[in-house]
């Protein structure tokens, strides 16, 4: 079974998740935190795709598309907040 060998790769991604979380909690400034949350979102999107192959459930892949879109939304909100202008303009 070709899928089972993915189990050896997942721990590396998990280590990366923990390192991003450390930076997101520690980061001295707000942009650092937002950047770490970005990376967290990308590695989680990768997790979703890997797990949908790993658990042999093809239909749950639709969630990965949605997660990849909204990480961008969080970037946009925070940078608009940092620009110190009225949010609606």
């Amino acid at each position: 079974m070709a899928v089972e060998y993915l189990a050896y790769f997942i721990p590396f991604y998990l280590i990366a998740v923990i390192m991003y979380v450390v930076r997101a909690l520690k980061g001295p400034t707000i942009p650092d935190r937002v950047l770490a949350i970005d990376c967290l979102g990308y590695v989680l999107a990768t997790f979703l795709v890997i797990f949908s192959v790993y658990l042999k459930s093809p239909l749950i892949i639709a969630c990965a598309i949605v997660l990849a879109l909204w990480i961008y939304a969080l970037d946009v909100y925070m940078s608009k907040y940092l620009e110190k202008r009225e949010l609606g303009e």
Binding site: L55, S57, P58, L59, I60
Partner: protein, 133 residues
């Protein structure tokens, strides 16, 4: 020797309870209204996770989603295997509407608190109480 899967699942279970306890502290003790609303939203999410955990089950090697991959209504053996492995579909159906309604209620509370700030000039609940005498 305990089963490793059961242990890891129990850790998840307890961690969600700890989250609920911390958010209850946030709702009752912290003075700022926006902080209370943030705590309330996390509280709702934690209860939703807990409701989903109740519907989880054990299957070999792993349970499947409560959605059939076949669209033909006549295959008996597919249905039997599906029922033997799928997770409970009732908690997702309840949580699904709960998340959207939770967002609408959060928006309503945010509108209310912005209006309160326009009237009182502050959102600290201690100062507002002092103002009202």
């Amino acid at each position: 020797m305990i089963d490793a899967r059961s242990y890891l699942f129990a850790v998840t279970y307890i961690a969600i309870f700890v989250n609920i306890a911390i958010t209850l502290y946030g709702i009752f003790v912290r003075p700022h209204i926006i902080k209370k609303i943030i705590a309330l939203s996390i509280f709702g999410d934690s209860t939703f996770v807990w409701a989903i955990i109740i519907g989880f089950r054990k299957a070999e090697p792993y349970p499947v989603i409560p959605i059939m991959t076949t669209w033909e209504p006549t295959q008996e053996y597919v249905v039997k295997e599906f029922v033997a492995k799928a997770v409970d579909p009732v908690p997702p159906a309840l949580v699904l509407t709960g998340v959207v309604i939770g967002l609408a209620v959060m928006l309503f509370l945010v509108f209310l608190s912005i209006q309160a700030y326009r009237v009182f000039g502050t959102l600290d609940i201690r100062k507002i109480i002092r103002m009202r005498g």
